[in-house]
Symmetry: C2
Subunit: 444 residues, 2 copies
Amino acid sequence: MAQRIVVIGGGAAGIGAAGAAKGTDPGAEVRVYTEFEDVGYSPCGIPYVHGKEIPDFERLFLATKQTYEDAGIDIRYSTAVTAVDAAAKTVTVAGEGQVRYDKLIVCTGFGYAPAGVPGAGLGGLYFVKNIRRAMEWDTVLDRVKAAVVIEASPLGLEMVTALCHRGIETHLVDPGAWALTAATDPDIAGPVQESWQQMGARLHFNTTLTGFAGDGTVSAVLTSDGEIPCDLAVVCTKKQANTALAAAAGIRTGSAGGVIVDERMATTTPDVWAAGDCVEVPHSVSGIPVQGLSGSHAYAQGKVAGTNAAGGSRSYQPVSVPWGMVAGEWMIGGVSFSETLATALGIPHVVGVAEGISRARYYPGVKKIRVKLLAEPGSLRLIGAQMVGAEGIKERADFLAMAVRTGITARQLATMENVYSPPIGALNEPIALAAQNLLSRIGG
Amino acid sequence: MAQRIVVIGGGAAGIGAAGAAKGTDPGAEVRVYTEFEDVGYSPCGIPYVHGKEIPDFERLFLATKQTYEDAGIDIRYSTAVTAVDAAAKTVTVAGEGQVRYDKLIVCTGFGYAPAGVPGAGLGGLYFVKNIRRAMEWDTVLDRVKAAVVIEASPLGLEMVTALCHRGIETHLVDPGAWALTAATDPDIAGPVQESWQQMGARLHFNTTLTGFAGDGTVSAVLTSDGEIPCDLAVVCTKKQANTALAAAAGIRTGSAGGVIVDERMATTTPDVWAAGDCVEVPHSVSGIPVQGLSGSHAYAQGKVAGTNAAGGSRSYQPVSVPWGMVAGEWMIGGVSFSETLATALGIPHVVGVAEGISRARYYPGVKKIRVKLLAEPGSLRLIGAQMVGAEGIKERADFLAMAVRTGITARQLATMENVYSPPIGALNEPIALAAQNLLSRIGG
């Protein structure tokens, strides 16, 4: 008899899991429950439609409902799963009652951390996530004169940039001393902040959110540094794992707040897998569990979970977490630890930093790139990197993530070969310059 | 007493060597002899001035003569070294006679392989190399209606693209079946060739040069496939090591035609180092000596040679040879072996290939990237790569060169993490897709 594989959640992890399960066991019945009206779109594109870089929301749909039907994946839209009974191997589904599963894959995603201040129930607070809500909010943005972005998280950085592009008076409120303090040092965030200011943004760092004020709808954001009148607040707080359903079923969660999974993405409960923003996975350098990664991580984890749930065999590696984005007029990116974070965690490190260029210095369009590398003292294995530049940041972050994972050293990076071709690469690769600087600082 | 370090040649290797020698031993007398009027400019930029991407030749100068004087480097311009006496430790210099050295660094560069056909002494044959000659030829290009590029070498690809941009009727003659057969496979060169045709270029592959015809100045290129009338021929034959001076002094040369050096860039002759296009160095995968690399390689080798000659200690690694360039409307690049070259050399390999994209598929400016990977059977260590795309080629080639050097496998690349951010990176990294394809082909 065909096994029934039930997936809870229709985001990148859930869709990846369903596709991999069907691919591994084409005879399986693969069923996806999602609370939402849609699957198969890219929520990551939403800030860029708001910013008018992408002309419409329809482009964010990557697959039609028919695509999944044709693939033999049964997606139940707008259908909430309210409970899991792992002993009976059933889920409770609104409108369907008890539904049996042979294998269950939990892909319940994330929610934004509660602001935890008065007025959090007001209208005019926008949480960027669902595409249909985004379409509605986009029409609201046409009327918004002033907006406040709450927290300089990755999404916060994208939204500040988008709202500036949209011509809205944009404020950013963050308790940290600079943007994205969890991943960057001030010298990396600095150029981004300067470009935001040139775009008209007003930056409120070292500033704590204390409340939202308004009569039904937000009319001001209250902070430790005073009141900011606005028509809209975009709440970009930290992503938290949605684990309520799993935890209620006795599926264990860990120190980062996510569902605990092994390298096969199996949970601590038999026949239950999990993937995506609801899980935590170990960091490749520290072994510390981390959570709230990218859509690319969610999709890859989903594929591993779906493959294994259906009877195949794949494993997922500890993560080094390359990251990158456009922020203001710059691209920023990196991998693993910043100097700030490594210091805060007590991780020993040596640092190298250099300013290089993206093309031959005489070639039109050449831009500076600042690269900072962190290595483990002694071994000089790379344990972190950050960059700010205008091209080639994503590809360098991917490279350096593999370097962190495979134990490549600053000594190796200092003598790396590089493409030198005037329109696309400079005589000296900025990564090599930063590694050389690191070696010179330690006298070697 | 201060040691005297003599450098023969003022290109990237010679200037790198002189700077490193002075940096290592500031008390040394460092003297550079060059046959030419200038040093400290980028010959690699010449094709882009011809193509009008760069507005003038002056921009290619990276340092003034004063810069070197200030650095304490004594550069003797337009001064030929005609002999080396390694036993007496002297060089014979035109106009100076016998000049003593303590340490000698040979950076005599390359010449283009002789065309070896009748008419090679005619006017109108342009060898792209010296900036003053390039300035003169650039005024000639204003009057040229039709030009023939001889050989689809890296320089040949740049010159075809430049002459098309310049609005000149451009022909390419090459004995190979496609462009850059030494580094590419036809599926990688194909898009470049299509874009050249759209730019108006006329491609003569599988065509042998048989002569140049004309009355004093070339008026036609003669080939196995007929005569091509033209006003100019750009001779882009293979780069050959200039070793006449070294060989006459008993300094040994090797199988690739370059001066033999060890990992310290020391030649077989005591107190004589060499670097740049005149040397050969081992390939990291095959151990086979290779020669005629990039300006970046020359500069790095020069720094190693100069450091060691002055009494320091640095070593140069076997090369993986990342390469990349703009050709037609595309960027192409790669590292080490193509499928064609590996097959020709009898190097066992397995292949993976994928077409990915450079940004989210809905993001404006997204372009396809084709990636082909070669791995050693069994170990699946990467031994080669090629790419064609429109952004991020240089950075990926640098990454894959480090992968070749450090033994990263297709299995590791298949599970690489990647930055996913709509304006700068797609959900699936094309390198990972190609590695996954490779694994699927071998059933793993």
